[in-house]
C-alpha cells in the first residue's frame, strides 16, 4: 500500500509540476465553448438548450488529447519495467493511473465549468445538477480512456485507432449525462433526472470496476 501511495503522489507531482499541460487543456476547453457561443450569438435560447451537451462533448474532446500519454511515458522511459520488477501489480498501477488522470484532467475542467457556463447561457438552476453529472460521469471517461491508452502502448504510429475504439464506449456516458440535464431543462422532472443519474452512476461504477482489469491485461500482453 505504501508503494502505491508513493506512485500515486508521484503521478500527481509529475502532472502538476508541468503546468502547461493542464493549463492548455483548460484553455482548449474554454476555447471550444467560447467559439460555439460566438457561432450561435443572438440565439440565446438555442445556446441554453444545447449547453449541457456542448459542455460534455467539449470535455470528451479535450480528454482525447491526454489519453495517448497516460502509459506512454512510463513504458518508454523504463518506469514500468522498474515497477514490474518490484512486483507492483498491473491492476494497481492501472487504477492509480486512471484515478490520477481524472484528478489531473477532469477535476480542473469540472471546477471551471460554472464560469465557462456563462458563455453558453447555462441556466443557474442547472449549474449544480451539471456539476453532479460531471462528477459522477467523468471518472468513467478517465477509466475508459486509460483502457484505450493501454491498447496503443507499444504502437509507435497509432493515429486514430484509439478514438475509433473507445468513442463508442463513451456514448452511454454522454447519453445519460446529457439526458439527465435535458429532462431537468425541458420537463423539470426530478424523478426522471435521478433515474438518469442512477444509470450514469452505474456506467461509471462498471467502468471503475472493470477498466483497470482490462488495462492491466492489455499492458501485460504488451510484455509477453
Amino acid at each position: 500500500m505504501r508503494i502505491y501511495r508513493l506512485i500515486f503522489l508521484r503521478e500527481l507531482k509529475k502532472v502538476f509540476s508541468y503546468k502547461a499541460n493542464y493549463i492548455f487543456s483548460l484553455m482548449f476547453y474554454s476555447a471550444i465553448i467560447f467559439l460555439v457561443s460566438i457561432g450561435l450569438q443572438g440565439q440565446n435560447s438555442v445556446l441554453t438548450n444545447v449547453a449541457p451537451g456542448l459542455i460534455w462533448v467539449a470535455i470528451i474532446l479535450v480528454l482525447f488529447l491526454s489519453f495517448e500519454d497516460i502509459f506512454h511515458d512510463d513504458y518508454y522511459d523504463g518506469t514500468l519495467d522498474i515497477y514490474l520488477i518490484e512486483d507492483i501489480t498491473f491492476y494497481g498501477y492501472a487504477l492509480i493511473k486512471s484515478f490520477s488522470h481524472w484528478l489531473a484532467n477532469c477535476l480542473p475542467m469540472i471546477i471551471v465549468t460554472p464560469i465557462i457556463g456563462i458563455f453558453v447561457n447555462l441556466n443557474s438552476e442547472i449549474i449544480i445538477p451539471m456539476m453532479v453529472t460531471l462528477i459522477i460521469g467523468t471518472p468513467a471517461l478517465s477509466f475508459i480512456g486509460c483502457m484505450g491508452s493501454s491498447l496503443i502502448l507499444s504502437l509507435k504510429i497509432h493515429g486514430l485507432i484509439m478514438p475509433i475504439i473507445i468513442l463508442p464506449l463513451f456514448l452511454p456516458i454522454l447519453v445519460f449525462g446529457v439526458g439527465a440535464l435535458d429532462v431537468l431543462i425541458f420537463n423539470g422532472f426530478e424523478e426522471l433526472f435521478l433515474r438518469q443519474i442512477a444509470l450514469l452512476a452505474g456506467v461509471s461504477g462498471l467502468s471503475i470496476a472493470f477498466c483497470p482489469i482490462a488495462s492491466a491485461y492489455i499492458i501485460k500482453t504488451n510484455y509477453d
Binding site: R10, K14, S17, D77, D81, I85, D87, Y223
Partner: protein, 191 residues
C-alpha cells in the same frame, strides 16, 4: 543466493535471438556478456529479470533481489533531481547517499529538472537508484555508457564492493573495463 540459467532460448517475431544459453552464478561472482548489436544481450538480461518472455529453458533467481539498470531508467523529465532521488529513496526505503552524489558530480544539479541533464548525468542519476536499492543481484545493461572516466572508475569500485559483499553482477558491456569477470559469455554475431 545464486542465478541459474539452463538452456535458455528466446525469439522475437519468430526469429531466434538466443539459443541454448546456460550458466550459473554464485554469490560474489561477476558475469560479463558481450556481443554485436542485436545479438540478444538486452533480451537475455530482460529474460533473467523476469520482464522478457522466453521460449524454452529455465531461470532460477531470487526475484525480490533483482535490480535491472536498463537503457531507460525511469527518469521523469519534468521532475527535479531531488524529487527523483526522494521518490526512489522512499520507494526502496533506503536513504540516498549524499557522498555518492558528490562523487558523481550531481550535487550541484539537485534542483535542476531532469530534462536539463545531459545523457551522462542521467546515467549517473540512474546509478544513484542502483546504490539506493540495496539489492543483491545487479543486472547492468551498458552501465558505462555516457560516463566520464572518473564516474566509470567509481562504478567499477562499486561493482568490486558489491562482489565483496556477496552480490552477483551480470553486466552487458562493449567496453573492456571489467578486467576479471568470473564468467564471460560472448553472444557473438547477429545472424
Amino acid at each position: 543466493m545464486s542465478v541459474f540459467v539452463n538452456n535458455l532460448s528466446c525469439s522475437q517475431s519468430g526469429i531466434k535471438i538466443i539459443s541454448n544459453i546456460s550458466f550459473s552464478l554464485k554469490t560474489g561472482e561477476i558475469l560479463k556478456i558481450s556481443g554485436e548489436n542485436g545479438s540478444g544481450k538486452t533480451t537475455l538480461l530482460r529474460a533473467i529479470s523476469g520482464l522478457g518472455s522466453y521460449n524454452s529453458g529455465e531461470i532460477l533467481i531470487s526475484k525480490d533481489q533483482v535490480f535491472l539498470l536498463g537503457h531507460n531508467s525511469g527518469i521523469k523529465q519534468n521532475l527535479t533531481v531531488e524529487e527523483d532521488l526522494e521518490f526512489w529513496s522512499e520507494f526502496y526505503q533506503n536513504k540516498h547517499d549524499n557522498e555518492i552524489l558528490k562523487k558523481l558530480g550531481l550535487s550541484s544539479k539537485i534542483h535542476s529538472q531532469c530534462r536539463y541533464l545531459s545523457q551522462g548525468q542521467k546515467q549517473k542519476l540512474a546509478l544513484t537508484r542502483l546504490f539506493c536499492a540495496d539489492k543483491k543481484i545487479w543486472l547492468l545493461d551498458e552501465p558505462f555508457s555516457f560516463l566520464d572516466e572518473d564516474s566509470s572508475n567509481f562504478l567499477l569500485s562499486k561493482i568490486e564492493d558489491h562482489r565483496k559483499n556477496d552480490g552477483i553482477t551480470i553486466i552487458v558491456s562493449h567496453q573492456n573495463l571489467i578486467k576479471n569477470p568470473d564468467l564471460f559469455i560472448n553472444l557473438g554475431v547477429t545472424e
